[in-house]
């Protein structure tokens, strides 16, 4: 389980430059945020350090240039995206 500060930082860093990323990350946090493991947290932090378009390319499945060790979180994000 994440600490309150970890979760708060994560929530803030899910505020992005464009709406597509905001919407997907909001869906993810709503569904899973409170239950993230430390590993999931670290993976998501690595992905959030990317630029918005690079992150969006990965989430949308257009790019596989994601940071090493983040493939599980990428899959989670991709399935979050397609869950309408």
């Amino acid at each position: 389980m994440l600490t309150d500060v970890q979760l708060s930082k994560l929530r803030w860093r899910c505020r992005r430059g464009f709406l597509e990323n905001d919407l997907v990350l909001e869906r993810l946090l709503k569904a899973r945020g409170h239950a993230f493991t430390d590993v999931e947290h670290d993976q998501l932090c690595s992905l959030l350090a990317l630029d918005d378009n690079d992150l969006w390319d990965i989430i949308a499945g257009r790019s596989s240039a994601f940071p090493e060790g983040t493939s599980d979180m990428v899959q989670t994000l991709r399935s979050t995206l397609t869950t309408h």
Binding site: D4, R16, G17, L19, E20, D51, N53, A60, T82
Partner: protein
Amino acid sequence: MAQTIHKYDAVVVGAGGAGMRCSLQLAKAGLRVAVLSKVFPTRSHTVAAQGGIGASLGNMDEDNWHYHFYDTVKGSDWLGDQDAIEFMCREAPKVVYELEHMGMPFDRNPDGTIYQRPFGGHSANYGEKPVPRACAAADRTGHAMLHTLYQNNVRNKTQFFVEWMALDLIRDSEGDCVGVTALEMETGEVAIFHAKCVLLATGGAGRIFAASTNAFINTGDGLGMAARAGIPLEDMEFWQFHPTGVHNAGVLLTEGCRGEGAILRNKNGERFMERYAPKLKDLAPRDFISRCMDQEIKEGRGCGPNGDYIQLDLTHLGGETIMKRLPSVHEIGKNFANVDVIKEPIPVVPTIHYQMGGIPTNIHGQVVVPKNGNPNTIVNGLYAIGEASCVSVHGANRLGTNSLLDLLVFGRAAGNHLVETALGSKAHKSLPADAADYSLSRVAVLDNSSGGEYPQDVANDLRKTMQLHAGVFRTQASMDEGVEKVIAIDERAKHLSLKDKSKVFNTARIEALEVANLMEAAKATMVSAAARKESRGAHTVDDYGDTPEHPLGRNDQEWMKHSLWYSEGNRLDYKPVNLKPLTVESIPPVKRTF
């Protein structure tokens, strides 16, 4: 506890395109510049701009700045100031070439010149035919621009303060701006930035509406800061609806779609824009197209089971063109509408996109207010640029590609003005003894709160109210009702309560501070809209329809003037539109048809 004081020549609030274009100009001149940003600079909302930068380079077809000037004046529905519009259109090629020389990866023609695509409202020979004027980097123009500017800023030693939220302007007893207070998210502490000038480049407040293409960070922070400091907000009733927001998601499909040839169709498959705009068709300006779409839906020709959207058809462009020129449109269709745009049309509706109004400025970016009979008295030490400002080049409606142009031209102009006025050699004015007290008291109210509502609940009610009463379809009665509702929500917003009272990265506290800014932007919008008894540009009111005396509901005799809304007393003032360009003849008002 004494606050930490940071001292700089200039403090720029906001690290989007306008802020970073300005900070670059200042840093290159050797000034000490701090840029405060809620998020990492390259994650500012400028990154979302897809279409391009309007400039009459004439690389594809004959073009010149005066055609661009004419289109922008007409697009503004004669609410734009013609001196500012001339300045912007003349400067446009220069700022594009400068960006090119900084390393911006523009799309190219085979001969190496910058590729340009057509965009809504941009024409050659004064409305005769569409002209390719948009300079783009695929459909990631904003992204490329932010990276170019950020890298150049780093090279020139601009100091970035990331994950800092600016709270309030500091004005001295003479009314001059001498700094800004800001909250560092990591510590939760409030600090003072003491500066010779402050530049507000915080973007728009698009999150006051429920259906918006804007990112969640667009909470109008600069507008709130200005309004609380006694500075009026100009023309806030004018909000642009982008015609092609994805139905039920809000995600934007770039106007570049229609530039590349996409067509809007009603439920009968009819290309209905041919009826409304025989010359420009699907490339008519955004407000005009949005109203036509609304009209089609209202008259029963909307698509889908509820008849509540329009179809955007790209299928005839072919997969190769779509994947080459509009790859993100393909992705958005797949992920937010379950549609493959290569094979089928995508449902779209007009969605809130851009704030035409903002903090009043002159062409140097200096904030101006009415004082002693002069409607444009300069506030010393305070500038505003980009979407946060109202210079006013967009008037009642902005043309596509003029937003990136606006922030480049006026970000650069503000920087140049400060350099030319020898900011570096000036002394800092003294800080007032109570410089941080107001901000600290606002934060303390939240920290000591109990029994009130949570920020997000109030913000959501505000968004729903604004959508209902200040949306694309406006009536006088609905706007009047909206004013009452927004004032009631404002009372609730004064008594917000936080569950979490911690300091370190307390996002609830930050969101509560954002709600205060949203409230100022929403009140300005609702009150200014209800007071304007005409239809003009994006402000289209059912009560003020097309008559011989007032074509398309526009009443130049009484309403060709800028609204100025003051937070104190929730009151309005007005100032005249500047119809006199800098060097050329004025474009006289005529009925706006396409």
